[in-house]
């Protein structure tokens, strides 16, 4: 039976190990945005042994490239992008830098699922295509790295009760497989 949690970043190991695939989480605090291009730059920094532009330990990365904000708004529409494009980068951030959560939509590969088990991280799903609704839960946004990437720049977001569903938990479970098996008619 799915449970509902209210969590605040940064997330601890205890915060994430209580979660199971299918649970609902309302997340508050600071999260960081990054898509393909920004991930590539983060990994290049890791390879060069240099400091990353934000403290990753315990943090949550949101895979999103928002629309430009209208005057007076902190951000434009901001729903998740498809996450598999980050599969080749996420395990290193989880295993080496203790990234504790990712927000996106769509399937992750086995390497990401394994890293979530090994180093205790969660892959959360947000509702794709609900960019206007999700933007309401973002109270401020500030570009902190790679402004030249435009919508793909790394932003520091302040979120309140950001609605999420646990897709991959720290026990190797996958909601996409569990949920589909439950409703598949053979």
């Amino acid at each position: 039976m799915s449970k509902t949690y209210n969590l605040t970043t940064p997330l601890s190991v205890d915060d994430v190990t209580q979660l199971k695939a299918g649970d609902i989480v309302y997340l508050s605090g600071i999260i960081y945005t990054a898509r393909d291009a920004a991930h590539k730059k983060l990994i290049d920094l890791l390879d060069a042994g240099e400091q990353l532009p934000f403290d990753i330990e315990g943090s949550v990365i949101y895979f999103v490239g928002p629309t430009p904000p209208k005057p007076g708004d902190p951000i434009g529409s901001a729903g998740p992008t498809t996450s598999y494009r980050m599969d080749s980068y996420s395990p290193r951030l989880i295993n080496e830098k203790k990234l504790r959560g990712m927000i996106g939509k769509g399937k992750r590969n086995q390497a990401v699922i394994d890293a979530c088990v090994q180093s205790k991280a969660i892959y959360f799903g947000a509702t794709g295509g609900a960019g206007a609704l999700l933007a309401r839960q973002i109270k401020s946004a500030e570009v902190i790295a790679y402004p030249e990437l435009g919508p793909e720049a790394i932003r520091r977001l302040e979120v309140v009760d950001f609605p999420l569903t646990v897709i991959n938990d720290t026990y190797g479970q996958d909601l996409y497989q569990i949920g589909r098996a439950q409703y598949e008619v053979k």
Binding site: G65, T67, R180, E184
Partner: protein
Amino acid sequence: MREIKYEDIVKSIRDCIIFSGTNLPKDAYAKMQEAHEKEKSPVAKEVLRQLLENADIAKNEDKPLCQDTGLAVFFVKVGEDLKILGGSLKQAINEGAELGYREGYFRASTCHWDTRANLKDEIGYNLPAVIHFDLVAGDELEIEYAAKGGGSENVSRATVLAPAAGRAGIVAFVKEVVSNAGPNPCPPLTVGVGIGGTFEKAAISSKHALFRELGSKNEDPVLDSMEQELKEELNKLGIGAMGMGGTQTVFGVHIEKNPCHIASLPVSVNVQCHSSRHTKIKF
């Protein structure tokens, strides 16, 4: 010879893009409500509730429904007896598209295939538009527009089957594409299927099939029965809204056909996410 002013086309395209990106079309909204009512999974039902609320917020606050405001795709029917005053039709469409995306605060999503650098300064804001022209008799001008996002394009597939594969082979291919796509293209989906023609003709037909009104019936009785069969089969996959498991995986299946080469049976499947932003302008 009928004449239409260049700037009238630019203005219409601009307005249509801004409206379309912020107002879920009535057919898609109705299908979303229907799916919300029918859905058995509580998780998927909540996703559909969020999507209906999202559509209301977008409409009331003039905000993009989705941050992926897509590449601008157009199907244009141009009458041979039509003259555009003050510029070319292609340029008018691109200019209107650029204005719509920029002034609607939509995202510029076109980039270089290799460097991945955004092309907004080099070519134009979210340009170039993808335009399919069709020259027809008379003096009409009809422009269909859709915002096509990346997530659902990424799972779309085309193939050329052996003629012996027939209807069963087509059904199997469509099922395979949607099954493999799973949660990635943001279901519930509209599934466009193009059959016949050449390799690229099938693909273009599968795209155009997505422009048909959701819930409308295919005029061809054979294709109509295939659409119903496929819808039932695809909903049995259990993928559900956003792939979290459920009974409502597709809003509809739309098929367009073309005559084939005697040696070939081309089939293309173009997947459309639940944010089915499409519209038609008649001048």
